[in-house]
Symmetry: C2
Amino acid sequence: MNRLISQQHRIRSLGEEMSSLLLAYQLRGKKVVVIGAGEVAAGRVKACYDADASIIEVYGKDVHPDILALEEDGDRTIEIFEGAVRPENVDLEGVSLAFTAIDDRKLSAEFVQLFRNKNIMCNAADIPELCDFYFGSTINRGPLQVLVSTNGNAPRLARRVRQELEHTVDQLGMEGAFAKVGKLREELRKMTVTGEEGYDPQTVKKRMKWMSHICDKFTFSQMAALTDKDIGKLLALYPQKVSYSDIRPS
Amino acid sequence: MNRLISQQHRIRSLGEEMSSLLLAYQLRGKKVVVIGAGEVAAGRVKACYDADASIIEVYGKDVHPDILALEEDGDRTIEIFEGAVRPENVDLEGVSLAFTAIDDRKLSAEFVQLFRNKNIMCNAADIPELCDFYFGSTINRGPLQVLVSTNGNAPRLARRVRQELEHTVDQLGMEGAFAKVGKLREELRKMTVTGEEGYDPQTVKKRMKWMSHICDKFTFSQMAALTDKDIGKLLALYPQKVSYSDIRPS
C-alpha cells in the first residue's frame, strides 16, 4: 500500500492528468466525524448536514458559530466534543466518513492513518495526497445536484465552469421543471392508486411509461411553466400521448 | 445501525426529497472488487478503470468481452476469478470499493453485509436501499468531469439535464480551454523554474496569481482558440496583466 500511495504522490507532483470516480454518496443513516471546529470544519459539517447525515461528531476548540447554530436548530444530531483534539479521545466506532480540518498537518496525518486502519473514507483539508475524495464545485437546485471537478487543474476555471452550468440550469428553469414533474407524478400516483400502497407492477409500469413520455416531449421551460390547471388537463388525458399544444392551444 | 437503515428505507419509500454528498473519489492506489461479470459489471469495471483504480478484481462466470478486452490491453491490473460466485471465495483484504452486479438479490445482499462488516463502501446494482452511493449521469471532457444527480427523481429528465450541460460545455469549448491553460501553465513553469524542481514558494505564488488573472480575463472560447504563437506572446508579457487584445489586436 505504501508503494502505491507514494506512486500516487509522484504522479500528482508531475501534474499528469488525473481522473476521479464521481459519486453521489448517501449519508442517511450514517455517522460522520469532523476533526476541527473552525471555518473549514463548519463547511464540512454543513455539507454533511445538508446531505442528511444522521450523526455528525465535531471535535475541536473555539467552535465556529455556524456549527453551534446547526447544533441548536437541527432536527438531526450534531455532537460537539469541545477541547484540544487528541486521537485517543476520538471514537471511530461505526463511522462511515471522516474529515480533518486543522492547521496541524502532522496531527492531521495521524488521524488519516487511524481512519485508514478502520477503512473510513476521509478528506484532509489542504493535504490533497491524503484525501480519498475531493468536493469540487457544486450546484444544488431542489432534487437536482451537479458536481464540477477539474481534478486539480486550473481551480479558477472550475469556478467559472460551475457558473456557466448554473446559468444553463437556471435559464432553462430546470429546478421548476423537476418540481412540476414531481407534482404531476404525485397526482398521477394518487389518481391511479391500486392495491396496497399502489404498487401494482402493471400500473407502476404504465405510469412510468407515460411520465417518461412527458419528460421527453416537453421542454424544461414548458414543464416549469405548468400550472395546477395544466396538470389537471394532462391527467385527464392519461394514458394517452400528449403534446404541449393539448394543454396550451396556440 | 439497523434502526437507522430501516429509517432510511422508510423515507425512500415515501418518495421524500433526497440529497446526496457529491464527491470526486480517488481510485489511484486502491483496490476494487466487482461481484458479477456481465454487462452491468463491465460498466462498473470500465468506470473504475477510467478513474485509474490500481487493482480491479472481478468475480463471476461468462465474463463480458469488454472486461476481457480491458484485462488484455490494460496497463493496470484486472484480475478475473472465473466461476460461480461464493462469498467464501472472495478476498476483501485491502479493498476500498465494492460492487455487486448479479441477478441473485439474496446473494447480493449477503455480499453487501460482508462489505459493511469491513466498512467497504459499496453499490448493489438494482438494490438502491443497499447502496452507499449512486453514479448519476456524467460528462467527461479531458480533466473536466461533471456529475448530474437527480436523487432518484425523474431519471428521464436527468439524462436531458446531462445533455443540456454537455451542450454548454462543448459550445463554450471548455475542454479546449483546459488543454490550452494547462499548456500555458506548463510552459510558464519551464520558463520560470527556480530552485530544485521550481518549487520556490514566491515564484509559485507569482505564477499562480498570473494564471488566475488569465483564467478570469479570457473567455472559454478565447482560451480554447490560443495557438502556440499566442501562448508565446502571452509568456513574453509575464508577469504583466494582459488582455485578449494584447495578442489578437482587433
